[in-house]
Symmetry: C2
Subunit: 245 residues, 2 copies
């Protein structure tokens, strides 16, 4: 373990880098995951490595969606598990959501390793190994999900998801919450609620919002959802990246 003082000006970025390297060491982060990490770094750099107001609002809306869902599921891939293992567990607890491991390059060994990693960070039940259902419109291996997990969910959080799967899940009529640093990505374009932010900041932020919102009457939580304008959120994120502000 590397001990990085929180006061370090590059604390977040060093922590991220360290967790990703740790993920490679534990066979959790893939080659594609490392490249994806780099793409995220570039967009975050242009965003000023901060949570912009529209992303904070989207995180609040996403928290509201999870709280009002009948069956919310958080989909976790290699980079998510490497970057925010305990933060995902806390979000699941705050929203009574399930966690399902779902990989772009799926192998049972990697799912096992990621599940173990999440358990070491406090997770209880983890779905993803049953894989008894298929998302329509995807290749066999990419389509596999648990019948009583993502397949049955009405609201899914898919952080750092690839475009094909994000589209296929949206086609199934699910409310899709996406965390992605590229507002022009197909995942972001497809999402019901696109959160254009670094997952390292977005997941704890969602948890904070969930803990606040769950104190409120259901209609107030619903009104947070109703007030959200996804087109405006995407446009404001793109503007932030383009203007560097």
């Amino acid at each position: 373990m590397v001990d990085i003082p929180e006061s370090h000006p590059r604390y977040e970025s060093l922590l991220t880098r360290h967790r990703i390297e740790d993920g490679v060491e534990h066979g959790i982060t893939s080659q594609q995951g490392l490249i994806a990490q780099g793409r995220g770094e570039a967009f975050d750099y242009l965003l000023g490595e901060q949570t912009i107001p529209s992303a904070d609002e989207a995180a609040r809306v996403a928290a509201a969606e999870l709280l009002l869902a009948d069956h919310p599921v958080l989909s976790v891939n290699g980079n998510v598990a490497a970057l925010v293992p305990s933060e995902i567990v806390e979000l699941a607890e705050a929203t009574t959501a399930e966690i399902e491991v779902n990989l772009f390059n799926r192998t049972d060994e990697r799912i096992e390793r990621i599940s173990t990693h999440l358990r070491e960070h406090g997770a209880d039940t983890i779905k993803g190994l049953t894989a008894d259902e298929r998302i329509p419109g995807l290749d066999h291996e990419r389509a596999k999900v648990d019948g009583d997990g993502i397949y049955d969910a009405d609201v899914v959080l898919v952080p750092l998801e690839d475009g094909d799967r994000a589209e296929a899940l949206a086609e199934m009529g699910k409310t899709e919450l996406v965390i992605d640093l590229n507002p022009l990505s197909r995942s972001a374009e497809t999402a019901t609620v696109p959160i254009i932010d670094n997952i390292i900041r977005a997941v704890p932020n969602m948890t904070r919002h969930a803990r606040e919102l769950r104190q409120l009457p259901e209609e107030d939580v619903q009104s947070v959802i109703d007030a959200f304008d996804r087109e405006k959120a995407l446009a404001s994120a793109e503007e932030a990246i383009r203007s560097g502000e």
Copy 2:
């Protein structure tokens, strides 16, 4: 080998991805190299995956600098060797420059592997293993260069170079030619000639310019250099990334 038809709309991007994966397989591309590749992809995406006019001009100026140099050296790291092995050899030939392998995470084994890879792509003499001199102002391992290579060069091409080393080389008074997709990076800021372009496009483009320019009288080649405005080139690249044009 993957056979990708040149007519494929994503030909360049697939070729890049394939070469990087190949580089990992051969122990040439590092973890940091994969993350750096992802950062480059994001900036290239925002640039529209094209060589903008100011980058084409910078490539021409860089070719002119190599042609008029007393001792031009092309510095090659893992990603450069993986992405443009034969293209670097062709540029060295067109400009009678030397090639030196210089790594951020230096080990003699990786230098050997990269040298072998370059030889398989037609390189003759490759420097980098003697490492009998040091760039002032850098940590021991990062500082190592060949005394009759980069240390002695008046003009160096440092594609995809890290900021610390780019600054230290500039401090030595060398004419520094940088290829980098981020116009705000320290390497680009430090360069005498910053080429804000994908290395896959920039290196063959420099070779093409070098073959044209070497037909001209020396004063005409010098006037290409004299007309260059680096601040304008950086500003126009940033503008292209911000505006998406």
